[in-house]
């Protein structure tokens, strides 16, 4: 069976890989959007924190013998905690300055984190085993479905939709959204806004860390893995616009799939297709697909 001259196994395989990548884009751009909403900072170190999540998994296994499921719980806590420290120590000094300083500060942070990991782990990848329960592949007849990759797509969908639910449908989320619009007013209502900011930052970072742990068995854990993905995620954010949570998720997944399809039909373009789409969107709808023109 073939689709436009491509065997269905290869076609669906690439589609799945695209969805897996898209899941990571979605989780990262979601975290960026949540942080940007409240702090007005684009967190350049988001990729580095995603990488830290993967290394938490690697080190937990290597030093403590703790497996994948432990890491999935631990990494968001550890890396999220690290994020909170960063916010308390560094970020709060620059909220009053031009937003561009936030970008520069987090860029510096990303360099530091990446450099430290490079020192300890070099630049070649560290393998991480697929958890036992998800090892192997299911032969669906028309394609071989690697169990773990299917799990990644599912897990990240759950995380993303959960985040969406909390922000759009709960009281906590209501405070958050209100804080985005008018922090002074929310403060006046007796909400501890600085604490909320800190926790939001920690949460956004935790999302990146979960992404990192999920990515660990799929790709080689590598200190540079964060900077490789973050720029694509920036493009995703520009395409989607940061106005809507659901928008970030959909754009992330959608662009992953488009990348996957590009690999089937025109592999040379697969690494540039996201940027080309960004350019087109900028020409047609500068505020992004889901963004509001300010």
């Amino acid at each position: 069976m073939e689709i436009f001259g491509v065997p269905i196994q290869a076609f669906l395989g690439q589609l799945l890989l695209g969805l897996v990548n898209g899941s990571f884009y979605a989780m990262l751009s979601l975290g960026l959007a949540v942080i940007f909403g409240l702090l007005n900072i684009i967190n350049f170190s988001h990729g580095a924190l995603y990488m830290m999540g993967a290394y938490v998994a690697f080190l937990a296994l290597d030093l403590l013998g703790l497996g994948f499921w432990w890491s999935l719980a631990l990494a968001p806590l550890i890396v999220g905690g690290f994020g909170i420290i960063i916010e308390r120590l560094l970020m709060r000094w620059i909220y009053k300055l031009d937003h561009l300083y936030g970008l520069l500060l987090t860029f510096g942070l990303a360099l530091i984190i990446e450099g430290v990991y490079r020192y300890f782990f070099g630049v070649s990848g560290q393998p991480y085993p697929v958890p036992d329960a998800l090892r192997g592949a299911t032969d669906l007849g028309f394609m071989i479905l690697p169990n773990y990759r299917a799990f990644v797509v599912l897990a990240s969908l759950i995380v993303c939709l959960g985040t969406w639910y909390v922000i759009e449908r709960t009281r906590l989320g209501a405070y958050l959204r209100a804080g985005t619009e008018n922090p002074q007013l929310v403060q006046a209502f007796g909400v501890n806004v600085p604490l909320m900011v800190t926790l939001t930052f920690g949460f956004g970072v935790a999302l990146a860390a979960i992404g990192g742990v999920l990515a660990a068995p799929v790709i080689q854990i590598n200190p540079l893995m964060g900077s490789n993905i973050i720029i694509v995620v920036f493009a995703v954010v520009v395409i989607g616009g940061m106005g809507s949570i659901l928008g970030s998720i959909l754009t992330g997944l959608g662009l992953g799939v488009i990348e996957g399809l590009a690999k089937v039909y025109y592999a040379e373009a697969s690494s540039t297709v996201v940027f080309v789409i960004m350019a087109i969107v900028l020409m047609v709808r500068p505020a992004g697909l889901f963004g509001k023109e300010k």
Binding site: D98, L104, G108, I112, R118, V238, F275
Partner: protein
């Protein structure tokens, strides 16, 4: 030109003229000058127009490739190679610039970064760039068919001349009526717009000039070293030029020059001794500059000598 700027300028020229006879490694001097010019070009945007481009490596590197290819494959003379490279960088600057100026602030930075990454991927895959091998063995050739650039001293003076041309051009731009409008845009874009200035056109022109001069720096560096590789178009290079400007002094005339020399020296001195800690140190400098040292070396010095200068992003 006020007194202090004039003194600084004379000092710069004198230092530049005698530098190759101080026993410094000429390749190092040339490299530092190229990066200083790159940072000056970048500063025209960030310091004098208020636009943070996070993708300037694209112009630096593309121009490097254009120079390398035209000299190696078509046998262009070095001056023609640089001219071709600058034109290429200006065109690319026009293309990326017209997209990026559709958004402001942080989005502008992200768009330039993403577009630059696209250029990186194109360079990675295109045939004429030699992908990961880069273009190697680019002959220095003879300037105007006469000065043999294989000689390091001759090469140095050509680099210095290029640097001065770029530097003076930026000085002229900043101190022209056009430059005044750029400053107005930096201070308050809405007001500049309401005063009737075509803000987008001014921004785009500043972007193109900046890209072209960044290209001149890249092309010159390629001729000095005889090769061009992906390092020059990749995002760390874009970050580095931001750092040079930041540490030297955003929006100052001499800041980027100081910053360029500072960073190149630092890398040169540290690379062998501390390995990947260089990156950590660069990152730390970023953080410190943003938190406590936003005026940069030259900005702080000017402030120290009494004349408060407005420093803004």
């Amino acid at each position: 030109m006020n007194n202090k700027t004039a003194v600084g300028f004379v000092l710069l020229v004198l230092l530049g003229l005698v530098a190759p006879y101080t026993g410094a490694y000429p390749i190092f001097l040339m490299k530092a000058l190229c990066f200083a010019l790159f940072a000056c070009a970048f500063n025209l945007l960030l310091g004098f127009t208020g636009l943070l481009s996070f993708g300037h490596a694209a112009f630096f590197g593309t121009a490097g490739y254009a120079a390398a290819y035209s000299i190696k494959a078509w046998g262009f003379a070095p001056e023609l190679g640089i001219l071709f490279a600058v034109t290429t960088a200006a065109l690319l600057g026009w293309a990326i610039g017209s997209l990026a100026i559709r958004r402001q602030g942080i989005y502008f930075a992200m768009i330039t970064l993403a577009m630059a990454q696209m250029i990186y991927f194109i360079c990675l895959q295109a045939k004429f760039t030699g992908a990961e091998d880069g273009l190697q063995g680019v002959p220095r050739g003879k300037l105007f068919g006469y000065f043999n650039l294989e000689d390091d001293i001759a090469m140095y003076y050509m680099v210095f001349a290029n640097f001065m041309i770029g530097f003076l051009l930026i000085y002229r731009t900043v101190h022209s009526p056009f430059g005044q409008v750029l400053k107005a845009i930096r201070e308050n874009e809405a007001r500049a717009l309401s005063l009737g200035y075509d803000v987008d056109k001014h921004k785009l022109l500043a972007f193109v000039i900046s890209a072209a001069l960044a290209g001149m720096a890249g092309a010159t560096k390629t001729i000095v070293l005889g090769f061009e590789t992906l390092t020059d178009v990749n995002w760390p290079q874009s970050g580095e030029v931001v750092l040079m400007t930041l540490i030297g002094g955003i929006g100052t005339m001499f800041g980027p020059v100081v910053g360029g020399f500072f960073i190149v020296t630092l890398e040169n001195e540290l690379a062998d001794k501390v390995g990947s800690w260089v990156q950590v140190i660069m990152g730390a400098i970023f953080v410190i500059c943003v938190l406590a040292f936003r005026r940069g070396i030259v900005g702080e010095l000017t402030a120290l000598f009494g004349r408060k200068k407005d420093v803004a992003v």
